[in-house]
Symmetry: C2
Subunit: 420 residues, 2 copies
Amino acid sequence: MTTQEVRATYLIETPFTLEYAATVMAGEQSTGTFVSVPGETDHLKAMHAAKIVSIKQLESAPYPSLPGYKAPEVTGKDNVHFQRGEVTLSFPYHNFGPSLPNLLAAIAGNLYELHEVSGVRLIDIALPKAFMDTYRGPQFGIEGTRRLTNVFERPLIGTIIKPSIGLSITELRKLVRRLAHSGIDFIKDDELNGNPPFAPLKERVVAVMDEIERAADKTGKKVMYAFNITGDIDELRANHDIVVEAGGNCVMVSVNSIGLAGVAYLRKHAQVPIHGHRNQWGAMTRHPLLGMSFTVYQKLCRLAGVDHLHTNGLANKFYESDASVIQSVQDCLTPMYGKDTLLPVLSSGQWAGVADASYKSMQTIDLLHLAGGGIMAHPSGITAGVASMQQGWEAALKGVSIAEYAKNHQELAEAIQKFG
Amino acid sequence: MTTQEVRATYLIETPFTLEYAATVMAGEQSTGTFVSVPGETDHLKAMHAAKIVSIKQLESAPYPSLPGYKAPEVTGKDNVHFQRGEVTLSFPYHNFGPSLPNLLAAIAGNLYELHEVSGVRLIDIALPKAFMDTYRGPQFGIEGTRRLTNVFERPLIGTIIKPSIGLSITELRKLVRRLAHSGIDFIKDDELNGNPPFAPLKERVVAVMDEIERAADKTGKKVMYAFNITGDIDELRANHDIVVEAGGNCVMVSVNSIGLAGVAYLRKHAQVPIHGHRNQWGAMTRHPLLGMSFTVYQKLCRLAGVDHLHTNGLANKFYESDASVIQSVQDCLTPMYGKDTLLPVLSSGQWAGVADASYKSMQTIDLLHLAGGGIMAHPSGITAGVASMQQGWEAALKGVSIAEYAKNHQELAEAIQKFG
């Protein structure tokens, strides 16, 4: 691979040959149209056409994954077999330059609509370093987040404000007070709680930071709080500034609500880590032969400047398998060009008992482990909930089973009884 | 429906009852988490919980549409039936206020990941008018675009610069010169041609507008040219200004590359129509039980401020059926709150012969009909290609078959021979 190309790998399914489908994809996404047109010279094609790098045949499928495919004329629809394979295309870098929005139009644009395929999923990308030089990537990442929270040698433990939506400023203040004294490292707003009229972000920031600072004065530990600043583009900077001026040290955005372009815009201005929530992502990835893989998504998020990215956790309440979660964590922790890794955020149905399996399968402590109900609904309250999470990780890191560790750790024992 | 709620309708598929799945969706997207937490009071639920408005049972499915569903414990996986239905939920408007980014997190967020469903697609939304008051919607729409192009009582005829990518400024200049003298109403950049290093937008704008103005001086007709200004957020305004300062009268963006938030940001500043290209949209909609319908998408685009939106055309080269294209055109032409309709853009594999079926099925002339190859690859050249498109529409509007009309219209006859 040269510095003058972008490579994109797709999982495709087609009633045609893989070669033919790949040729159509390369044409559609670069110099071709449905008929040859004047000006489509050999020189132009040599300079600007996308090219097939490799094709890897996989097992074929008896049924099509997606509707709207066209059957080859020779066989007819009754007789169609659906070839599956991995296709890597090379796009000339100078077709778009280091622009994420224009890159997307090329590597993930109209090709999803081609009727030559009955399935197409973008599963990996390789980009020239010029993209990272332009966008700059995570400003804080794992190391910066550890520095700001002063947590080392174990995962960060965090929670989500619950109920997700509806707490008044007074109720929120009380909850944050308890959390800020609980020994927790990190708190975040729910993605459903942006800037609602009944509890505007501005008031929330003042109340929350007041509680956090007062607790920090007492305990010496300043909790990181990710304020959900999701909003229109011109609100992003203003909302960020409200947080920073109040002494806050993290902002959260719904990445897919503001777009990668919105994240990149915020990144240029940001003085604190950007906590990336991936809601809406299921629509882009749940079908295995459509959309894109998390491997690609986290690379794009990383380039745009996200510091923390949600990956779900093991045994989550969503559709995602443990194997997929583990792969996602590995993706976030794999450098693209150097020190540009993301802090993976485990969440969804998490509690103390998930620590052991997480550590065994992920083999890392570079995690932000969020438990909402798993902390808030602990039978002995929030501080016990946080203690149970810490104990779960202590057990995991010591290689002791939680059943064994719970014998001398009451909070863990209670968590096992309630959530186990 | 009150002014204090947002309604969202989903097509869902579930191994559980529709009622149960709908309850889980409503909980996940408002006040619930996986266990009850302190603070989730009756008062809070009454004020902030999403509620089920209606459930319409449809025919059940023998197989699940998506992986990762959880089977009800009573039946076990072998015995599962997949209920399908349309579910309408009501979300309290004050949970997010008139904010598109925060609306999306609520109505189209984590619910795609729920394992209680084996299929979920957002198929319609109804929003309080406060959203339109905030975002303002299409600034030009159909009427404004007709005014700027001086085209009435017939569809606008347009083309896409082809080859999509790779023309030098000199080659582009020559092509635009010919197009600007051809009688065409509208030209657009390809979505693959943004701001590439070898032909930067700035130079392209100067060259193109020079040709267009000079042609207009001669012919009295100033072609509308949609410059692809897709780029990072802080480039959008600058790129827009480059176009307007050069006398340009339209800008194009890849909506999904800059996000709805990016479009709304541009809309606040825009002095010319925003031509919305929907590349990447296939990933969001091609599977019939995932993502969202075009009905929803065009409402969101419209709110954000798009003036023209691509719908594909009949007999297109993509996966989309004619029925779906016709529905999309109707969606664009259906007012939400008043004069807020979008100009539908028919494209993909279009030529003169498609006019008749388009008019018969769509029953409107409020269309922007784009033909790339269908104009550029006409045997007698570009001017003949444009004439053939006009003749195709003349025949359609007169109720004459194109075969009949072609007897006295040479350009149409040649088009039929080449593309028919």
